[in-house]
Symmetry: C2
Subunit: 246 residues, 2 copies
DNA sequence: GACATCAGAATGTCCTGACAAAGTCTTGAC
DNA sequence: GTCAAGACTTTGTCAGGACATTCTGATGTC
């Protein structure tokens, strides 16, 4: 039961020790080496086994608790969560998600232009109405089938967008490459019926149910760096969210 | 700029010190005493001001960073997040959410029975197919308008459900009162068209877009304690989610 | 046999101390 | 005037220790 974890630490690495530990434990959970319900040794023993202090070991465990992979109970111990919880929705883009799931995502840029901000966009980006912003409209496909229509608005001058790179990399990767540090986002998920134009693009019938998601993303200065308003084919896409009570 | 926070600590209280600090800072942010963008003193000064150690002060700040209220940058400092981010989706029920928003929620129990678990329910609750489980069907209204049809399945013997209390309190409050410690949940949000029966109950037309949410909730032993499959009127309900990059 | 009490085990909280890394700003050289 | 190097500030990481709180299980009593 109290399996001594085989974890190797590299103290010369710039990667924090607690993170090295967390990553390797996560890998073992994914691989099934640590099955659901498995009880870990107590923090002090674990720390001793790896030659770490208890706070560092705690930090590693806490990281995985926050991720929803482990559960701690005072007086009892730490257990691997008994569920195949999907990774929680993270600050990632649809492109990243699809690429990870190896769904062969492709993107077509339908529109890219500088436009004056409409009221809703201006509110979301916290700029005066009418300010010039960059507007993007893209069609995202997975495995050849159209999946989503994506509208994005960005403050002007944030980064140089090119059609080629957008189609090859996705918006979020471009922003990250431009040293934009996205920190918090506010998502709203809803549903509505497809308009005729949307239906044509998505190979659906008019009135077909679509999943809608609008999101405003802020960087670490609190500046809004992106506002997106997307629709997804409900038959092909769902959002998965893991919730952890702390 | 570097405003000395007026925070009172009660060291005799069972409430952890870091939590007392976090709560009071949060209250000041909500009240506007700490406006968006305000820079806090550095951790060491704050800790000194309150007579705390730096780790405790850090824990308080970290708590608020996780909640998306503060942002830290190494070499720079800690700032109040510059956005009116809604509180993130938490392990709460629709009833709680509505009650909080004072939307006068009402519930009608349409069905309550012990039934053998169908395959999908059995998988979600991790019981053998055919096991007796409690099934609930409820209609949730807000301000007199029908809002959602909710199907729930619970393992048998978890708690004594009564129609009256379900209609007055909501399922989650009953579970909490029965000492069920809900810890993690797995949500899936999608959309589909309303069936005829659903349309009638919800005062919508057949084929109208509905928001769907299915959720499995686990307690701190990893046992599945509830599986729910709900549909919401897309015109009346959306999910709000706040994401914080750590 | 059922229930209360107590010891043990594990995490939760809090402390002090130290060094590393990253960002900002000033200083200085060219 | 511009750019780079270095000082300074601030958070990030890590160590080791102490006591509190909570849960489990065993012990003992009625």
């Amino acid at each position: 039961m109290t399996n001594s974890l085989s974890i190797t630490l590299d103290r010369t690495s710039p990667v924090p020790l607690y993170f090295q530990v967390a990553q390797q434990i996560e890998a073992m959970i994914d691989a099934g080496t640590l099955p659901a319900g498995h009880r870990l040794d107590n923090e002090i023993q674990l720390a001793d086994q790896m030659g770490l202090s208890r706070p560092t070991m705690r930090q590693a465990i806490q990281h995985l608790v926050d991720k929803g992979l482990l559960v701690r109970k005072r007086g009892v111990g730490t257990q691997v969560v008994h569920s195949m919880v999907k990774r929680s929705v993270e600050l990632s883009s649809l492109y990243d998600d699809l690429a990870l799931a190896s769904k062969r995502p492709t993107t077509t840029v339908l529109n890219m232009a500088r436009v004056p901000a409409e009221d809703d966009v201006a509110v979301a980006l916290r700029v005066p109405p009418g300010t010039e912003v960059v507007h993007l409209q893209r069609l995202r496909c997975a495995q050849g089938e159209p999946l989503a229509i994506m509208h994005n608005w960005l403050p002007d001058g944030l980064t140089d967008l090119t059609v080629e790179r957008l189609e090859q990399r996705g918006l979020y990767e471009m922003l990250r490459a431009a040293a934009v540090h996205m920190r918090v986002a506010n998502q709203r998920i809803g549903a509505r019926a497809a308009t005729l134009a949307e239906a044509k693009l998505l190979h659906e019938r008019r009135g077909a149910p679509l999943l809608t998601m609008s999101r405003t993303t802020y960087d670490d200065n609190g500046r809004a760096v992106e506002y997106g308003s997307h629709v997804y084919r409900a038959t092909l896409y769902t959002f998965e969210i893991a919730l952890v009570e702390r």
